[in-house]
């Protein structure tokens, strides 16, 4: 069966260099990468191959040296600095390996931060964050500080923070790396169950082969390029490089 899916992220010949002259390092060497709406796309590869740099450029946290990034048909390079921040605030959610929760805020306050950043009133933001946390099974720990939460619980709060403002693209950097297998599976269950949405794309950077079965697509990166993209099932997609199917 095939389905028509719309690309959320399109990278074309994307390059990123750090440093200049003799110390210049080419981290991205012409990346062509697509992530589709309604799909969980994994970005995998050995350490240092450029995965984190790629999602940083996609998120607009780093500028590319050359090439193009289109998010929902809008060219990121054309955005001014302030437009980029506004776009990120509205359309992007992040889940990090180290959670990056604010230690002074409770679980529900942490989850509400994107709404507060968007100017939503505190009470309203906290109510919305509470609803998302309840959905993620955190109703017992709403007012708990991150230091009192387990790794899995912290990652659930981070997930709630990524979801609360209903972004169109969620970027996850090694979300299970700091968790044991069972907790990692639980977090991925929640991610697959709550983040994936027909209008939203989810990109997960991971080394963790134990969670590959959650992926709808796996882009394998090596030496600053996408070496191969594997799809769970064949789709009518725009030009994808080296596409193969996996079971």
């Amino acid at each position: 069966m095939s389905a028509k899916l719309i690309p959320a992220v399109q990278c074309r010949d994307l390059r990123k260099d750090f440093g200049v002259g003799a110390t210049q390092v080419q981290v991205l060497r012409g990346v062509n990468f697509d992530a589709l709406q309604g799909q969980l796309t994994f970005l995998v590869g050995p350490s240092g191959c450029g995965k984190t740099t790629l999602i940083s450029v996609i998120a607009g946290l780093l500028d590319s040296s050359a090439g193009e990034v289109e998010l929902f048909n809008q060219k990121v390079e054309k955005f001014s600095a302030s437009e980029r921040i506004l776009f990120r605030r509205k359309n992007l959610g992040f889940v990090y390996q180290q959670y990056n929760l604010l230690p002074a805020l409770t679980a529900v306050e942490n989850a509400a931060v994107p709404l507060l950043a968007a100017g939503v009133r505190r009470r309203e933001a906290v109510d919305q964050a509470k609803a998302v946390l309840v959905k993620l099974g955190m109703e017992e720990r709403l007012d708990t500080l991150p230091s009192k939460l387990s790794g899995g619980q912290q990652q659930r709060v981070a997930l709630a923070r990524a979801l609360v403002h209903e972004p169109r693209l969620i970027l996850c950097d090694e979300p299970t790396a700091a968790l044991d297998h069972a907790t990692g599976e639980a977090v991925m269950d929640l991610l697959a169950g709550n983040a994936v949405h027909p209008d939203r794309a989810v990109i997960v950077v991971t080394h963790d082969t134990r969670v590959f079965h959650y992926a709808d697509a796996i882009a394998r990166m090596d030496d600053g390029r996408i070496a191969k993209t594997e799809l769970r099932q064949p789709l009518e997609t725009p030009e994808l490089d080296s596409v193969t199917a996996f079971a």
Partner: protein, 379 residues
């Protein structure tokens, strides 16, 4: 996001309290030292301030401050009275006899001899007795601190006898005279009596106290007196400032206090600035996460300024409260009476603390503004 900034600030209690109390103690030290400094210098003109009847002081042209007197001629009083615009002019004597009690306790004192007829310059704030009794033979009014110095541990009591340079004097009143620069008893008596206490010299007149006629400006009158008599004439306010400036210029007081104030300021800037800077640096990843979420640099500046000024305001308030209590307590002591927490000191310290927090914020802001939000992806 103000809520987030505030929670970030107060979340780490140790650092938060450290910052608040650094600012508080710095504030206390600055207010304490500047107020004591100003209070001590104010004392150099206490006896001038206590004379509320006259507005102009006439003295020898070489006189620079209150304690430094060179006697005028008796005819100078008449010459001053002859100046246009003078409503009245009376003489004032200032000497420093040794006061001795019957049990042998003694101290050098300020003896102010007031015009016999008018008693102009008599202390108006009396704790016991009446200044009008100065008309009695051998009568003196002594200030409370002088009384305590000469009769330690004894209750205030009138009609006690002291000797001034071996001349018997009777205490007819105890005044609340402003504290002099040196802790000597302040005695008020009649002019004719004071010159006897101190011992006769060829001339005795220390100062001429002048009241301008209604509508005559005191400054203008000073100019006329100087022009017509060749003497020095200063308004009470000018003369008080002369005393302050003399001590500032000729003593080590400003240097000593200045060093303490400078150290307090440097410690405040360095410790508060460094603690706040470290607080921000340790939270860089948090700021990175907030930046990645889409918070603008302008909002981050607002958050850091809010944090800085919250600790600044709380620390300043605590420090000012401590200083207020300090002066409230010591202001009631005889030795430190009159030294108060001055509003100018509070305002100056407030400005210093704003400077401290602005400098601390600038250092911290620099780090946050150049922070790459991609830092959040580093493990």
């Amino acid at each position: 996001m103000n809520f987030v900034a505030f929670k970030m600030l107060t979340g780490d209690k140790a650092k938060y309290l450290g910052l608040v109390f650094t600012i508080a103690f710095c504030t206390f030290l600055l207010q304490n030292q500047t107020s004591i400094f100003a209070g001590i210098l104010k004392r150099t003109g206490s006896q001038i301030a206590d004379v509320t009847d006259a507005e102009v002081w006439v003295m020898d042209p070489k006189t620079e401050y209150f304690e430094q007197t060179k006697a005028l001629k008796d005819t100078d009083l008449t010459r001053v009275r002859g100046v246009d615009g003078v409503q009245w002019a009376v003489k004032l004597f200032k000497g420093s006899p040794v006061a001795r009690t019957l049990d042998g306790k003694f101290a050098v004192s300020f003896c102010l001899g007031l015009d016999d007829a008018t008693l102009t310059g008599a202390p108006r704030k009396m704790l016991l007795g009446s200044w009008e009794r100065l008309r009695e033979p051998d009568a003196v009014v002594i200030d409370q601190a002088g009384y305590v110095l000469l009769f330690p541990g004894e209750p205030l009591q009138l009609d006690r006898t002291v000797e001034l340079n071996d001349h018997k004097a009777t205490i007819v009143g105890i005044s609340d005279a402003s504290a002099p620069f040196v802790s000597w008893p302040v005695m008020h008596t009649r002019y004719s009596q004071a010159v006897n206490f101190v011992g006769r010299e060829r001339t005795q007149l220390s100062y001429v106290l002048v009241r301008p006629q209604p509508g005559v400006d005191a400054n203008e009158l000073c100019r006329r007196i100087e022009a017509q008599t060749g003497l020095r004439a200063r308004t009470s306010n000018q003369f008080r400032w002369d005393c302050v400036l003399y001590y500032l210029k000729n003593t080590g007081i400003p240097v000593n206090f200045g060093i303490t104030i400078a150290i307090a300021l440097i410690v405040g800037i360095v410790v508060a600035g460094q603690t706040f800077y470290l607080f921000t640096v340790e939270n860089l990843k948090q700021f990175g996460a907030i930046k990645a979420i889409g918070v603008t640099n302008g909002r981050l500046i607002g958050m850091i300024l809010l944090q800085a000024f919250t600790v600044g305001l709380i620390g300043f308030s605590i420090g000012t409260g401590m200083a207020g209590e300090f002066f409230n307590f010591f202001g009631q002591k005889v030795a430190t009476r009159g030294i108060i927490l001055m509003w100018q000191s509070v305002a100056l310290t407030c400005a210093c603390m704003v400077l401290v927090m602005v400098l601390a914020s600038i250092l911290s802001l620099r780090r946050v503004l150049v922070l790459e939000p991609a830092i959040v992806f580093r493990g």
